[in-house]
């Protein structure tokens, strides 16, 4: 196939599909760092014209990353569902965009084609979509998953309560859990990023959440986001583990740099499933989704694991979408991009972070994932809380499954800013969104009243109160 287009009397040629994808991508610093971005605004549009005319079928015949040497590529091609793909198999990328936005493409139809959509196809079409397109198409798709709560139902917005503490202090973490629950946060998961990556520390924190959960009968699930091997070791030590967490990326080499492989993820999933800790949800079914994955554009490049079949870099947004193929294989409860965490060398400012968050959410949903987003930035990026408010509002309209609930939006352990418990309540109020049904019932229950009472305890009693929550 020849990849070229004449624009304004100038012929723009591109060396291969990888090159077209990279140059058609709206500008971001990570692609410039990899030296693959379009060299001019016109060249970008020429690449988008070329991309619009490429048949979707062509992506199934043209691996961007080697099938032979990359297990993520093998996973993508070997699990592709041709029957699900059939309704859109004759379309070009441009026609696919038109179809996604058409009234013909209902949410049910979009869910049905998901197993036939590859990450590369999702990434390609997203490059032709404006912000409102990314919102409109994603908002049609609901992906519902269950453990003890049901996450992703229409009209609902869940949150991960993230009560991190700079030294893993149990009382400090419990105090933050109190605050979050009191403000209606935590129906997706109570998830702690630990400082210490040891099985004993993971077990101790999981037991603490378990004790809290049991005391107030909170319908939610727990997670301590250590390395997967540490969590598996904690399971072997008898830890009460609900969700198994791991960061994943879009190439085998990047995953290797994380110290993981598909077989290790499989081993972990089986270990977590064997505990059978899911609960009965509002519709009577028992929750079985046990995996929690985080991703983010730029992770492959930062691990120097981002090269395509021609030895040149694949763009970071396509690599991100490939991480969703990894996640999809393990039926996760939760997947979120940590969109602004990686830093300005990959997403420079609020504008780039916002677009990336919406692309990631759309691509994830199109691939059938229960997408959430850690709407966030670091202090070395050109962004602030205004940018987060904008992206928060946009993702709310796009139907994001969950966002983060961090005390005051300031994560004192990971040193970055995300969204607060209050931000979630703003979004719920302004868009009329409600928490997960099981959690909503709990908020109106006596258990929540007991929690409220404890939370307003006089100063003398707070230490004793927190001690009681900590397992012996």
């Amino acid at each position: 196939m020849e990849y070229s287009h004449i624009l304004g009397g100038i012929r723009y040629g591109f060396s291969n599909l990888r090159d077209v994808m990279a140059k058609a991508t709206p500008f971001r610093s990570g692609d410039a760092l990899a030296e693959i971005a379009a060299r001019s605004a016109e060249e970008r549009v020429a690449a988008q014209y070329v991309l619009a005319n490429i048949p979707l079928q062509h992506f199934l015949e043209t691996p961007l990353i080697s099938y032979e040497t990359d297990e993520v590529s093998r996973l993508i091609f070997d699990t592709h569902d041709a029957a699900a793909f059939a309704p859109v198999s004759s379309l070009t990328v441009g026609e696919f965009r038109d179809w996604l936005l058409s009234d013909e493409a209902t949410g049910e139809l979009l869910s049905a084609i998901a197993p036939g959509v590859t990450p590369e196809i999702a990434a390609a079409v997203s490059k032709l979509m404006r912000v409102q397109d990314l919102i409109l198409a994603a908002a049609k798709i609901r992906v519902v998953t269950q453990f003890r709560t049901s996450i992703g139902l229409r009209g609902r917005l869940s949150t991960r309560l993230q009560p991190n503490h700079p030294t893993d202090d149990a009382a400090g973490i419990a105090a933050a859990i109190f605050d979050g629950l009191l403000l209606g946060s935590g129906d997706a998961v109570i998830g702690i990023n630990p400082v210490s990556d040891s099985p004993t520390a993971v077990k101790r924190l999981l037991a603490m959440i378990e004790s809290f959960r049991n005391r107030f009968e909170v319908p939610t699930q727990s997670c301590v986001l250590a390395h997967i091997t540490t969590q598996i070791a904690a399971i072997e030590q008898g830890a009460p583990l609900d969700l198994l967490f791991q960061s994943v990326a879009g190439t085998e080499a990047a995953n290797r740099s994380f110290g993981i492989s598909l077989s290790l993820l499989k081993e972990g999933q089986e270990a977590a499933q064997s505990l059978k800790r899911g609960g009965v949800c509002f519709d009577g079914s028992v929750g079985t989704n046990v995996m929690y994955f985080e991703t983010g554009q730029g992770s492959a490049l930062s691990a120097n694991a981002h090269l395509g079949v021609d030895g040149l870099p694949v763009d970071q947004q396509t690599l991100e979408a490939r991480a969703y193929a990894v996640a999809r294989h393990f039926s996760p409860l939760l997947v979120n991009t940590v969109v602004g965490f990686i830093g300005p060398e990959y997403l420079y400012d609020g504008k780039q972070i916002s677009r990336a968050g919406l692309e990631d959410h759309f691509c994830g949903k199109l691939l059938g994932l229960p997408m959430g987003c850690d709407i966030c930035y670091t202090n070395h990026a050109e962004a602030d809380q205004d940018d987060m408010d904008s992206l928060l509002t946009l993702l709310g309209t796009a139907g994001v499954n969950y966002i983060m609930g961090v005390p005051g939006a300031d994560d004192v352990m990971l040193n970055y800013q995300s969204t607060s418990f209050h931000d979630a309540n703003y979004l719920r109020r302004i868009l009329g969104l409600r928490p997960a049904p099981e959690f909503e019932v709990w908020l109106a229950s006596n258990h929540f009243s007991r929690l409220s009472l404890d939370a307003s305890s006089p100063a003398l009693l707070t230490g004793e109160l927190l001690d009681r929550l900590l397992p012996a």
Binding site: S29, S111, G172, P199, A201, E345, N379, D384, N415, N425
Partner: protein, 301 residues
């Protein structure tokens, strides 16, 4: 993936009043705030955060932004390090001031590759010191990273705790000259250590400033896999073998309100001992279990 028809809007859960229970709940007792530096129990107005709390956040953000862009005050740091070294014994020259290929902060922020490489004159100075017949057991690198403030406040204090532990526990360990690198990232330690033929490197580096911690120091411990360089394909001769994050161990949040210098030094010693024993670092080495009795600490001697 679980999928089913969404009919929840027709169920008994439809009342928005229930959600208001959370919105109207009493604020967390301010007494809880003493248990964590996290911003809990914030004053509210409606569902939103009250003005004074918003301003406090804006101030913290402004301070963190300023910390990112601050320049390392070299003379003060060098003086502090010299004063430690007068009571320790390192081969001369005891301290080297080096620079990455990133000329300034703006470039540093956008070009991590330049922050991982030494500039030519820095590399030259290391090559002059290196003597192939006497390799070093440990190289210690101090880099400004994303917070020069963290390095200025914590690096000398940390080394003050670490050196006595090292000499007591590993008296025969040959420690290379201290290297201070401006506009440096973690991986620049690999290049420093390779140039000095050190098999193990620890990098003390300013962490990304958080709102409540503009001065947090991180330490990365990396085993260099000597001899592995031969496996690098010829095409990548200009980029030294990149070490994956999973092959490093990290100790984070070293500052007066976080992990104290003595405890951090004990952990560093633990990793140094484990790395030398197993000839590797990274996810293969687990963190010490809580209550671990560090060799070389006062309790065990």
């Amino acid at each position: 993936m679980t999928k089913f028809v969404d009919n929840s809007s027709k169920t008994e859960f439809a009342s928005l009043e229930k959600q208001k229970a959370a919105e109207d709940a009493p604020a967390l007792s301010s007494a809880f705030r003493s248990f964590t530096p996290a911003r809990i129990g914030l004053h509210k107005t409606g569902v939103s955060i009250a003005t004074q709390e918003c301003l406090a956040f804006q101030f913290a953000h402004a301070r963190a932004r300023d910390a990112v862009h601050a320049e390392l005050q070299v003379p003060g740091l060098m003086q502090a390090l010299q004063s430690i070294l007068t009571v320790q014994s390192l081969p001369e020259p005891a301290i080297l001031l080096l620079h990455s290929t990133a000329p300034d902060r703006q470039t540093y922020l956008q070009r991590p590759d330049m922050g991982r490489k030494l500039d030519i004159s820095s590399l030259q100075r290391l090559v002059e010191i290196h003597r192939a017949d006497k390799p070093f057991g440990l190289s210690i690198v101090i880099a400004d990273g994303l917070s020069a403030l963290a390095v200025e406040r914590n690096s000398a204090a940390l080394l003050t705790e670490l050196f006595p532990l090292l000499y007591r526990t590993l008296p025969s360990l040959r420690v290379a000259p201290l290297c201070v690198v401006q506009q440096g990232r973690v991986a620049i330690g690999d290049e420093v250590a390779r140039a000095l033929s050190a098999e193990l490197v620890i990098v003390l580096i300013g962490e990304r400033p958080g709102l409540s911690s503009p001065d947090s120091l991180g330490v990365y411990i990396t085993w260099l896999h000597p001899g592995k360089e031969e496996e690098i394909p010829a095409s990548s001769e200009h980029t030294p073998a990149q070490i994956a994050d999973a092959d490093r161990n990290c100790i984070s949040n070293i500052r007066s309100e976080g992990l104290c210098h003595a405890e951090a030094a004990s952990r560093i010693l633990y990793y140094i001992q484990e790395a030398r024993l197993r000839k590797q670092t990274g996810t293969a080495l687990k963190d010490p279990e809580p209550g671990h009795r560090y060799l070389g600490t006062a309790e065990s001697t």
